[in-house]
């Protein structure tokens, strides 16, 4: 990979374009990106390509195993699992991406404010985040779910809020780290205007760790959303969210395990893809971890 130094050499390591170009040369990242894109496209066009509607029930085919008729079999109400799984992909993505977006926007803002102003503002914000950090993430999300109730929007909100502190701390640490970097001092000392320092030095260097955190956040929140749905706290039946599908399939696992295995495989593949992307970005940004 390092042999390609020449063509990426003109780009600043850590800049978005640099990361993107390197990413396209990383096999596992390309695999992850491809899987994610294919799943999103399939999910969007699934009503057009699937033979069965994800809602239509067919009592005669209830519990049927995978066959030519129903490629991945049917569930307890005779609904086609393939249609449901493909359609349901959108929930995992929507929840994963939107909740991470909420967490990232709010967290980055809070972290930047804390890191930039320092002093009392910083301590106050950090003590506030300590409260969030007194719980394991899933418990926090469960608490918010209890207050907000169930549903996709509430699930997104609950997961979004639960993840703010991670982003805030990361951003704050970033800002503090960069502010003390010698090249920032150097830029300041030669009279570089603050605006230029921020756009030219601080943002490009702060953004990279954030990208890793976002990729990991999407996978984490996708997983957490299916856990919440599985517990009956997130998205509810009959929505074909993967966790919710698994939750209802659980009762039939002894005799019809395919109902539980299939949504699980899809969760696994999706989370794995985001993890691969996240790992690749991290390796690109921190080459010392390699070898």
């Amino acid at each position: 990979m390092k042999g390609n130094r020449k063509d990426t050499g003109s780009l600043k390591p850590g800049s978005l374009r640099y990361v993107w170009r390197k990413l396209l040369r990383n096999k596992s990242a390309v695999f992850g990106l491809t899987v994610v894109c294919v799943l999103i496209v399939l999910s969007l066009i699934s009503p057009l390509i699937c033979r069965y509607d994800y809602r239509s029930m067919d009592g005669l085919n209830a519990y049927s195993l995978p066959s030519a008729e129903h490629l991945l079999g049917c569930d307890e109400l005779g609904r086609d699992i393939l249609s449901r799984v493909l359609y349901g992909a959108r929930y995992t993505f929507i929840i994963g991406i939107l909740s991470t977006a909420i967490a990232a926007v709010l967290g980055i803002a809070m972290g930047a404010v804390a890191g930039y102003f320092g002093g009392a503002v910083d301590s106050a914000l950090m003590r506030f985040l300590d409260i969030f950090q007194s719980f394991p993430m899933l418990i926090l999300a469960m608490a918010f779910c209890a207050v907000f109730g169930t549903g996709i929007d509430k699930c997104i909100l609950a997961l979004g809020i639960s993840n703010i502190s991670g982003f805030a701390r990361l951003m704050r640490a970033n800002i503090l780290r960069i502010r003390n970097m010698e090249y920032v001092e150097a830029a300041t000392s030669i009279g570089c205007p603050t605006r230029k320092i921020i756009t030219g030095h601080v943002i490009p260097n702060a953004i990279s760790p954030i990208i890793v955190e976002i990729a990991m956040g999407i996978s984490r929140n996708g997983l957490a959303s299916s856990s919440l749905s599985f517990l009956g706290l997130g998205v509810q039946q009959p929505t074909p969210e993967w966790g919710a599908m698994l939750s209802s399939a659980r009762s039939y696992i002894r005799y019809y395990p395919h109902m539980a295995i299939i949504p699980g495989i899809f969760i696994l593949i999706t989370v794995l893809s985001f993890n691969l992307i996240g790992d690749a970005v991290r390796d690109i940004l921190d080459p010392t971890l390699k070898e």
Binding site: R127, D130, I131, Q133, S134, F135, P136, M137, L138, I139, M142, A143, F144, C145, A146, V147, G149, N163, G166, R169, L170, R172, A173, L176, R177, M216, S219, R220, L223, S226, S227, F230, L231, G232, L233, G243, L246, R250, I253, R254, P257, A260, I261, G264, I267, L268, V271, L272, N275, L276, D279, R282, T288, L289, E291
Partner: protein, 334 residues
């Protein structure tokens, strides 16, 4: 050192009070009137409802109730009673906690006993076939939803092979599957962390120094590299253990183990807001205490940190990093 502990406790207490206030306030907004939930289904006359409201003390102002709750929790460890069946929440927590504790202890032992040697092996044979294989397996395990893994394990070992009981709690064998399901995903991340940490430390100059002294390779790896590599791992262990004490919620639900997590889920599903409040506050207490103990354990292991604390100089940046690292299921590798 003592001063440091005191200082940490002084920060911890207001945080916990704030946690309790926030949770109590939030739960006040849980949909559904607690009086109606307490009364259960059926029709009730307005007079009955009012009488119950007064009996539950809900007619009093919010702040008074909050104050009493705080007093109850912090002075008497009293979390009130369940809306649904009126049992003491403290009693519920105390009877359930041993089960949660068992899963947590078994899981952490399993993780450490398998994860450290495996991580060291992978680091020593970095990029070999074995290492790559372990990397792929751990990556897949890491991406697996634990509830799915739990169902698969249950399907295979309990329902098909009949080797182990599928649900319930009791003797050790009831805990084997929950422990596996609870730790395999985390074990993967843990192993990768040990590997990364070992790789980093083996590149340090002091490892070369040790080697240049002519001591044998086993002593270089286990006597010099490993102790240093384990320092950052400690946070991860503490984090995970603290998280598990909060209840391996999903696992407890699947295997029908009466633990803290199951209590919480039942509470949420039954809209039993007092149980939910109690459960969450209790989890925050245990989690924060474990995190504090982890930080203290740190200073015992690493003489440099001990020195920092005793000289009252604290490197906030480093602490910050540790706080952030290993949060969220330990998928961080910073």
């Amino acid at each position: 050192m003592v001063r440091y502990v005191l200082k940490r406790l002084l920060i911890l207490i207001p945080t916990l009070i704030a946690v309790t206030i926030i949770v109590f306030t939030l739960m006040n907004f849980v949909p559904g009137d607690p009086v109606m939930i307490a009364l259960g289904s059926g029709t009730h006359t307005p007079a009955e409802v009012e009488a119950k409201r007064i009996a539950m003390g809900l007619d009093r102002p919010f702040l008074v109730r909050l104050g009493e709750y705080l007093k109850g929790v912090f002075f008497h460890f009293d979390f009130g009673t369940s809306l649904i069946d009126g049992t003491s929440i403290q009693y519920q927590l105390m009877t359930r906690f041993p089960n949660t504790l068992k899963i947590a202890i078994y899981s952490i032992i399993f993780t450490v006993v398998i994860g450290i040697p495996l991580g060291v092996f992978c680091a020593q044979h970095a990029n070999s076939v074995g290492d790559r294989f372990a990397l792929i397996v751990t990556l897949v395990l890491d991406s697996m939803p634990s509830f799915w893994l739990a169902l698969l394990l249950m399907l295979l070992f309990a329902l098909k092979l009949h080797w182990l009981p599928s649900t319930g709690s009791g003797s050790f064998k009831y805990f084997i599957l929950p422990t596996l399901a609870n730790s395999l995903g985390g074990l993967a991340g843990f192993t990768r962390q040990v590997r990364a940490s070992m790789l980093e430390v083996t590149r340090s100059d002091f490892v070369t120094t040790a080697r240049s002294k002519g001591i044998n390779e086993r002593k270089v790896v286990y006597g010099h590299a490993l102790p240093n590599a384990l320092i950052p791992i400690l946070t991860l262990v503490g984090m995970r253990f603290g998280g598990m004490l909060g209840g391996a919620t999903v696992i407890e639900v699947i295997f029908s183990i009466p633990g803290i997590g199951q209590l919480l889920v039942n509470g949420i599903n039954n809209r039993d807001s007092t149980v939910v409040t109690g459960g969450i506050v209790f989890i925050a207490l245990t989690f924060s205490l474990i995190m504090l103990l982890t930080d203290l354990a740190y200073s015992l292991v690493d003489p440099r940190i001990k020195a920092q604390y005793t000289s009252h100089k604290k490197k906030s940046g480093e602490e910050e990093k540790r706080h952030h690292g290993g949060r969220h299921h330990g998928r961080r590798d910073e």
